[in-house]
């Protein structure tokens, strides 16, 4: 597992730290009284993160999106803290998935990492509100009609049955969500779209890499209502808490509609 995130990178005054990860090109410049950040997205992107050091003030990134954080004495290091997406992710299996009656299965759905920036001194960390995804998402609407529903990110999934990604699958910046489906009905369940309530999930580091809470969807027989549970992994180090832990209505909405 790559350790490009979480560990702090020291940046000398007048220097720039560059990070290429996924489709994101990011530059952090440390100047005498401020940190300047620049970012841009490129088509295709890179499969493995690249970190480099350059001189601040290059014209290469002058036209990118940017922001400045003034400090009396700018902290000397910078860390990329992993986060889950800030909206639910609606993902379509590449091939429609049909769950036969009386079957249980675990799907592993991956979603791209977001980086929240943190500058650090020797004795404290200062979280910044700059929070960037490493891949660009399309957006979609998830709901019964255009009046009722939620905005979500859109993706496609191969809905793998095993948790292990290969290096080609951008393992260094993908987060996996285990989705367990119990079908106790007498009918086949057709999974055409899955709505993952990522802002309501915690992020953990486990043997499989970065994973979220497990979502357990249970469809009992005899016309009973389906239920959705969120279970933290047994062996996982917490990396980031849920973004919207306190927002009960969003949780309820997301959790009552795993499927369309």
């Amino acid at each position: 597992m790559s350790d490009w995130w979480e560990n702090p990178y020291g940046v000398a005054l007048g220097d720039a730290l560059t990070l290429q990860v996924g489709e994101l090109d990011f530059v952090a410049e440390r100047l005498p009284s401020e940190w300047n950040f620049f970012w841009n997205y490129r088509m295709g992107g890179v499969t493995q993160p690249r970190i480099d050091r350059k001189t601040a003030g290059s014209a290469e990134w002058a036209h990118w999106s940017s922001c400045r954080y003034p400090f009396r004495d700018p902290p000397g290091s910078l860390a990329f803290m992993p986060q889950l997406a800030d909206r639910p992710l609606v993902t379509k299996p590449v091939m429609p998935l049909l769950v036969p009656p009386a079957e249980s299965l675990t799907l592993w759905i991956s979603s791209p990492l977001w980086c929240r920036l943190e500058v650090r001194t020797e004795d404290r960390s200062i979280p910044l509100d700059l929070d960037l995804p490493v891949l660009r998402f399309s957006e979609t609407w998830f709901g019964p009609d255009t009046l009722n529903g939620d905005l979500a990110y859109a993706s496609t999934t191969r809905a793998r049955m095993n948790p292990y990604l290969t290096r080609d699958e951008w393992i260094d910046f993908r987060i996996q969500t285990p989705v367990i489906i119990h079908n106790e009905e007498a009918q086949v369940i057709r999974v055409e779209r899955l709505n993952l309530p990522l802002p309501a999930c915690g992020l953990y580091l486990a043997q499989e890499g970065l994973i979220t809470d497990t979502l357990v969807w249970h469809r009992a027989g005899h016309g009973q209502k389906a239920s959705l549970e969120r279970i933290p992994p047994v062996h996982g180090r917490p990396v980031a808490p849920p973004r919207q832990a306190g927002n009960v209505s969003i949780l309820t909405r997301a959790f009552t509609r795993l499927f369309d």
């Binding site: 609606v90 660009r136 998402f137 399309s138 957006e139 979609t140 609407w141 998830f142 255009t146 009046l147 905005l151 859109a154």
Partner: protein
């Protein structure tokens, strides 16, 4: 001695002071109570209702306080109420528009069609709602003009709330040449929507035949977007269509006219150039 002067002369100083104290304390109570009610209402409902309720409470308490103070000063409330009745009858006739606006304001309040901060369209006006008052709604237009719209106008007319729903559809009418391959046009447009991160995947974008125009086949290209991205998407789509059509050799034709001549006789074409005269004749 004039009438007010005679009346003042009959009011004992103690009652005058009491009346003034009632007025002061009452004003303080009215302001405090109105603020408390507003705070209570904001917690339970919204800022718009809270603001109106604050005013209702404030004015009601103030009327009560003034009546008590006048009573203390020896002015009979019964006489005052009688006078107020006659006065309100007169005022009622004179202020029909104001009353109509107040009642319309109450209906608007109940209907909950828009809130402060929403962007609404009323007739030819489009703007942000700055305030919803008893008589009128104040708007700030896109060109930063402050417009007062009477509540009566709002209740009678059509209001479009541009910011109520998080997503909206954007329609782009596109005319292509009659010899264009419509499937290729459709692929180009849908591909454009797929490439854009601003266009929503669901509801899916569509390309629908609209009509046979004078010079073009007209199509309606519709995409769904987050409402905040309206201008961005319009610009992105317009430049994207021109770029993509250029790449695929699809014409966006100018208006053109096909003329058929009934006669088979040769057509004489004459072109005049300053300083010279050229004659040509077309082949039969």
């Amino acid at each position: 001695m004039s009438l007010p002067a005679a009346w003042i002369a009959h009011v004992p100083i103690a009652r005058g002071i009491t009346g003034a104290v009632i007025l002061l304390v009452g004003t303080f109570l009215a302001v405090t109570l109105a603020r408390l009610v507003e705070r209570w209402c904001i917690e339970r409902y919204d800022a718009r209702r809270a603001r109106i309720l604050r005013r209702v409470v404030h004015y009601s308490v103030m009327v009560l306080v003034i009546l008590i103070a006048l009573n203390e000063l020896g002015v009979g409330i019964g006489v005052l109420l009688g006078a107020a009745g006659i006065l309100s009858l007169g005022l009622g006739f004179a202020s029909q528009t104001a009353l109509s606006n107040i009642i319309s304001g109450l209906f608007l309040l109940g209907e909950h069609s828009f809130n402060m901060g929403d962007f609404i369209q009323v007739g030819s006006l489009t703007g942000e709602v700055l305030a919803i008052d008893l008589l009128s709604v104040k708007l700030r237009t896109y060109d930063n003009l402050y417009v007062r719209v009477p509540n009566e106008t709002l209740i009678k007319g059509e209001i479009t709330n541009l910011t109520r729903l998080p997503i909206r559809r954007v329609d782009l009418s596109i005319g292509v040449a009659y010899d264009a391959d419509l499937n290729a046009v459709r692929d180009a447009l849908l591909g454009l929507a797929r490439q854009s991160t601003l266009c929503l995947e669901e509801p899916a974008p569509t390309v629908v035949f609209s009509n046979f125009g004078a010079s073009t086949v007209n199509l309606l290209f519709s995409v769904w977007i987050r409402r905040q991205n309206y201008s961005l998407v319009m610009n992105e789509l317009a430049s994207g269509v021109i770029r993509e059509f250029g790449k695929r050799g699809i014409d966006l034709p100018y208006p053109q006219q096909t003329i058929h001549f009934a006669s088979t006789d040769p057509l004489r074409i004459e072109k005049e150039i300053p300083g010279a005269r050229i004659h040509s004749e077309s082949e039969p």
